[in-house]
Symmetry: C2
């Protein structure tokens, strides 16, 4: 059944494809979230934070805020919890700025970090299991076309990578970066988790 077969007037082609693409993305995100939560027994916010801290040890709270899409104070509270669970360490002050806090994973935290990335990779590997090499090549080229319209310049650039295995992500080929190759200034895009009802 080809895409162009869908010509019925009550089922506009693009709307159908949009539904499918939206549902697939949703399914994949759900599955990754569930996998990492199950692997660690923690919630998604904690998992995202552990990944970010593990990927960029010494991150400040401000950097984390951007990655997680939370208020600054919420990140402070999140770190309180992670510290209490013995997963992260705060170290006050850098050589150039005494206000900043550098955040690192403890050994326990490193173990969680590995568990999270493994769980995520397993989901992605399984998802792509039926693709052959040609499929994979085409998928990558499709994402290169899709990504620029989906990632806004600003905090978005960081947030979307919040579960990425950054060590394995060559920055110069990452579609997120390629969408904004000239490293333009970061525009703040607030991302609210909670809205008043």
């Amino acid at each position: 059944m080809g895409y162009t077969d869908l010509k019925s007037p009550n089922v506009p082609r693009d709307l159908f494809l949009g539904n499918v693409l939206g549902a697939f993305s949703r399914a994949l995100c759900d599955k990754m979230d569930r996998a990492v939560c199950a692997a660690t027994g923690r919630n998604t916010t904690a998992c995202y934070a552990i990944v970010q801290i593990g990927s960029e040890p010494g991150s400040s709270i401000e950097v984390l805020r951007r990655m997680l899409g939370l208020e600054h104070s919420s990140v402070v509270r999140l770190l309180d919890r992670l510290e209490r669970a013995n997963l992260v360490n705060r170290i006050r002050g850098t050589e150039c700025d005494q206000r900043k806090v550098c955040i690192f994973l403890t050994d326990d935290g490193e173990r969680e970090f590995t568990k999270i990335l493994d769980a995520r990779r397993e989901v992605l590997d399984r998802a792509m299991a039926r693709l052959n090499d040609a499929d994979k090549e085409f998928l990558l080229s499709l994402i290169h076309k899709l990504m620029p319209e989906v990632v806004d310049c600003g905090d978005d650039q960081h947030i979307v990578c919040r579960l990425c295995d950054l060590e394995k992500c060559p920055q110069d080929r990452c579609p997120v970066n390629l969408a904004y190759p000239d490293n333009m200034d970061i525009v703040e895009v607030p991302f609210k988790r909670r809205e008043n009802f």
Copy 2:
């Protein structure tokens, strides 16, 4: 830059593609979520509920629970809030089961429903704007290969469609359904939103 060019040992091809696919899905979901929240001033849970009730008027709380991945009692509270906001009506009892509650959108609710689907469609249309017909056809075939490994049998089948414009989704062509064509019995798959820390 083709997919098969990525042969460097420290950047395994599939891991990179997995990162990219994961980040893209994340970006798209974030963008849809943000769009529908901005369009309504409500949170994601409320938006998902409005879509489901609008798509299947008369749904019971149990059906909603499955679609939203919440506890039954959480859905009750959610409906309390939506009812207070004058978006839904509860009608007690069906002809065959007096225990059930049928949930409908009010006129205000219908307006929100439309706003949500419009906002979502705009995001998806924009995302696909750079694709030509051949791209679209290939994308659909790719998703057909990807979906079965991503959607588990059970509640998942319902949850992933939680923002779909179901009226525009021909059930017999939906990749989610095609992954489970024989309509097997639904297996309960609990989906925890909150985990203890």
